[in-house]
């Protein structure tokens, strides 16, 4: 194996308008290695990889592939240089078969007939060589995500990729699927391929990579041999200073039950049961955390309790009233009337109308509250005053309630949502991924607020995929796997035990 690096980046710069997404990036990727790139959301990893794949062009800097300077103007050039990419959101045509997806762009001639039979053989070979079994004639929409991802890998290999970039590949996978993926990556490496693994999960970096580079705020801050570093060091490099994982809090003093969920089952639009016979309760003055790998039913559970999704069966008791969710028509407005606040997982998609001015978002969901109306018109001065109060109390910056919400940073947007939901003094607060894509300063602020809520005697149900967050905030931890609650633990429980539960190994047997 020669010493020429598979990929070398020199002084790469890329800006989107005022945002400097990549600044003076240097990177050397050894041939035949698995090279990890870690960084928080928004650190610039995906932008960098998109430059490498020709999706964006760098404003400045050089890309060298196999020691030769390359101008990668489009994906076609990247492919011809032997670079393949598995995108975070799969680039597949849902109503095409696996075969059709694989040959798209590499059909082998103007007519399909010849290319198809050759492709069939080649796919067979690739499936066998790399352990990438998928049915060639299956429709993509019928395949689970794990298999769809394999199709993406097959696509790259079919095009003769020597360098494979995977962007956050495990976000959508179950632990078992992720393990399988890592085995495939190992095989690829053994076959002499180079793998670039983009992730924000340190565990994965430690498990499979040979080398790891850390990005922070658009810059490449360090490169280490994986065997010579630790998760603690990487975490510190990622965020720029030691993270306070422990949240300062006193023991909880839970009182009466404020939310009781019994035998809740939810079926999604495809007819798949996503929440299966779930029962639990939340008491006043405690934070109940729901841990789990994303996609195990937590989101649907939260949305059902908030009245957004319909349940197939199950009852909820809130403020002493019991509602049969299958029989009663509930909607989010109704749940708000029962003093249930909801900070949704995805503030952009759900929690805010980003095109609205800040003050308009400050009443989203509460716009029918008579306080904000004067006759049949909205009382705009009053709404703005309320918004200004929240801005001050939650230190939302810039302090301008007329500013378009899209122009606030992620952390401040999250504070807008939080302020809106908390200031209504709910009995129960549902919180999903409160600190996703939020800067460190805001994280501490948000955590403190949640603890204050608890100490004020409210019940908080917290869903997060960040195990550390759950362990730091929650007083009780429920673990969800495959739509079921598979165990309840104290937050002091060993991380590996919780991890096993999240991976579906039942606590009782493990």
């Amino acid at each position: 194996m020669s010493d020429t690096p598979a990929i070398e980046l020199r002084n790469i710069n890329k800006s989107f308008g005022p945002v400097h997404a990549n600044r003076d990036i240097d990177l050397v990727v050894k041939k035949g290695s698995i090279h990890g790139i870690v960084g928080e959301n928004g650190a610039g990893k995906s932008t960098l990889m998109s430059i490498l794949y020709g999706f964006y062009q760098a404003d400045k800097g050089d890309v060298l592939v196999d020691g030769r300077k390359a101008h990668i103007g489009d994906s076609k050039t990247a492919i011809s240089l032997g670079i393949g990419m598995v995108h975070q959101h799969f680039m597949l045509v849902d109503n095409f078969t696996v075969l059709e997806n694989v040959i798209l762009g590499a059909e082998g001639g103007p007519l399909l007939a010849g290319g198809v039979s050759k492709a069939r053989q080649e796919l067979k070979r690739l499936e066998d060589d790399y352990g990438l079994k998928v049915g060639v004639d299956e429709l993509i929409e019928d395949l689970p995500v794990g298999l769809q991802q394999r199709v993406e890998i097959l696509k790259a290999l079919f095009r003769g990729a020597e360098i494979l970039i995977l962007d956050e590949p495990t976000g959508v996978l179950t632990p078992a699927e992720a393990d399988h993926l890592f085995r495939i990556l190992q095989v690829l490496k053994d076959e002499g391929k180079t793998v670039l693994l983009i992730t924000h999960k340190l565990r994965e970096i430690m498990a499979v990579t040979d080398t790891v580079s850390v990005m922070r705020r658009g810059e490449m801050v360090a490169t280490r041999k994986t065997s010579e570093t630790s998760m603690a060091e990487l975490a510190e490099l990622m965020v720029g200073r030691s993270v306070l994982l422990r949240v300062d809090k006193k023991p909880a003093h839970p009182k009466e039950t404020v939310l009781d969920v019994s035998h809740l089952t939810v079926t999604d639009s495809r007819g798949v049961q996503v929440v299966k016979d779930v029962s639990f309760n939340v008491r006043a003055g405690e934070i109940v955390g729901i841990a789990g790998v994303s996609g195990n039913g937590q989101s649907e559970l939260l949305e059902t309790l908030a009245g957004i999704r319909k349940a197939t069966s199950g009852k909820v008791t809130i403020e002493g009233a019991t509602i049969d969710l299958a029989e009663t028509h509930v909607d989010p407005a109704m749940m708000r009337d029962w003093n249930l606040g909801h900070v949704p997982e995805d503030r952009h998609r759900m929690g805010l109308v980003t095109g609205f001015a800040e003050y308009e978002n400050a009443i989203l969901g509460y716009h029918n509250d008579p306080t904000y109306s004067k006759g049949f018109l909205l009382d705009i001065p009053k709404i703005r005053d309320a918004a200004r109060e929240e801005i001050e109390k939650y230190d939302i910056r810039p302090p301008d309630c007329l500013l378009k919400t899209a122009n606030f940073s992620g952390g401040n947007q999250q504070k807008i949502v939080l302020a809106r939901e908390m200031e209504r003094d709910p009995t129960v607060l549902l919180v999903g991924q409160p600190t996703r894509g939020v800067d460190i300063g805001a994280i501490e602020f948000i955590h403190k607020r949640l603890i204050e809520m608890r100490d004020a005697g409210k019940g908080v149900l917290l869903v997060s995929v960040e195990l550390d967050e759950i362990r730091g905030l929650a007083d009780r931890v429920l673990v969800m796997f495959d739509g079921k609650i598979v165990g309840e633990r104290s937050p002091e429980t060993d991380e590996s035990e919780l991890g096993l539960l999240m991976a579906g190994a039942h606590g009782e047997n493990a």
């Binding site: 909801h342 989203l364 018109l377």
Partner: protein, 368 residues
């Protein structure tokens, strides 16, 4: 590349003006192509639409139609819906007006008939929008396509009714009898002393249109319903999270939109023609799309854009009279070009402008 990168005055002022200039430049080329002098044409057009009382009267008369259809499209825009059925809704709205006028004109003065005619126009227009709205809300059938289909169904229905049912007995013309005084809106010149609009049929409906503009502004920006409409249009998922019912918003918005389109018939049927006849809408519904786009879906912009299109209509008519080579079809060409440049190509100048304004700003400002 959305707004926000450009100063507001560029977004809402400069870009529409540039688009309009581009449309008029190409129109000028068309005039050249048929061997006439574009500058001369512009002169006649301006004079014809604004140069004398009757011209102004006609301009305002046409503008009245465009205000209604423009508002109709704009209201739907705010909910993220594209109602291109204004044509059919206005046509059916004519039925409501005609029924009220035919039933009452013998017995009562116009000001008693008017509220019934107005309600009839709005209700019939809204009714014609209801089925597409309901299908969109409940079955997910795209409102763009269904409203197109309903335009044609409306045309067939009106054709049938006017030829077979409502036709004046003994007449070969597919139209109703002419309304009596109790079914005629007064012309503006009758109650605004000192203004000479000549024979122009500009009438009370203009005032109604302006009131409707104010009402639309209030509804969209100042009521809970408007809040729900805008929230749903900007982010449907967030709207559901906020407890806003998509079905309710879609249906109510389309009813308002269809009602506004239907009210256009007041101006044509009760204000000017004084009888129900075939094809009185002739494109006003479609031009409403251009009016709404140019007016940035805001009532003030819509009124201005409507006056502009009114000038085109009236000035164009004058132009075809003065220069027979430039037939009235030229107006349709100009409308097409305005819709193209102000609507479909609205972003054409944006990248260049963004570059211009980014580089002309001081570095300190960029850092902030």
């Amino acid at each position: 590349m959305s707004s926000g990168q450009l100063p507001r005055w560029v977004d809402f002022g400069l870009i529409p003006v540039l688009n309009l200039i581009a449309a008029f430049l190409v129109s000028g080329l068309v005039v050249l192509l048929i061997g006439e002098n574009p500058l001369e044409a512009v002169r006649i057009l301006l004079w014809g639409s604004l140069g004398f009382g009757e011209g102004v009267g006609f301009t305002l008369f046409y503008a009245t139609n465009f205000i209604f259809t423009g508002l109709a499209v704009a209201v739907a825009f705010h909910a993220g819906l594209f109602n291109i059925g204004g044509e059919g809704q206005a046509y059916i709205g004519g039925l409501g007006v005609a029924w009220a006028c035919l039933a009452l004109d013998h017995y009562v003065p116009w000001w008693v008939t008017m509220p019934f005619a107005l309600a009839g126009a709005a209700i019939m227009g809204a009714a014609w929008a209801f089925i597409p709205a309901w299908l969109q809300a409940k079955r997910g059938s795209h409102v763009v396509i269904t409203t197109i289909m309903f335009n044609f169904i409306a045309a067939a229905l009106m054709n049938y009714l006017l030829v077979n049912i409502m036709v004046k007995p003994g007449s070969m013309q597919p139209e109703t009898r002419t309304f009596e005084a109790g079914g005629k809106l007064p012309f503006l010149k009758e109650f605004v002393p000192g203004i000479d609009f000549g024979t122009a049929p500009v009438n009370l409906a203009l005032i109604i249109a302006l009131l409707a503009s104010v009402a639309v502004w209030l509804i969209v920006w100042r009521t809970r319903l408007g809040y729900e409409i805008r929230a749903f249009g900007a982010n449907a998922t967030a709207a559901v999270y906020a407890g806003i019912s998509p079905v309710r918003v879609i249906v109510i918005t389309m009813l308002i939109s269809g009602g506004l389109a239907g009210m256009m018939a007041i101006n044509e049927i009760m204000g000017s023609q004084h009888r129900l006849l075939l094809e009185f809408v002739t494109g006003y519904g479609f031009v409403g799309i251009a009016v709404a786009l140019m007016g940035r879906a805001h009532p003030v912009g819509i009124v201005l854009a409507a006056i502009l299109f009114g000038m085109l209509y009236q000035g164009g008519a004058e132009l075809s009279f003065e220069k027979p080579a430039i037939t009235r079809d030229m107006i349709i060409v100009i409308q097409g070009l305005v819709i193209l440049f102000a609507g479909a190509l609205e972003h054409m100048f944006r990248p260049a402008l963004i570059q211009f304004f980014t580089y002309s700003r001081s570095p300190a400002e960029q850092a902030g």
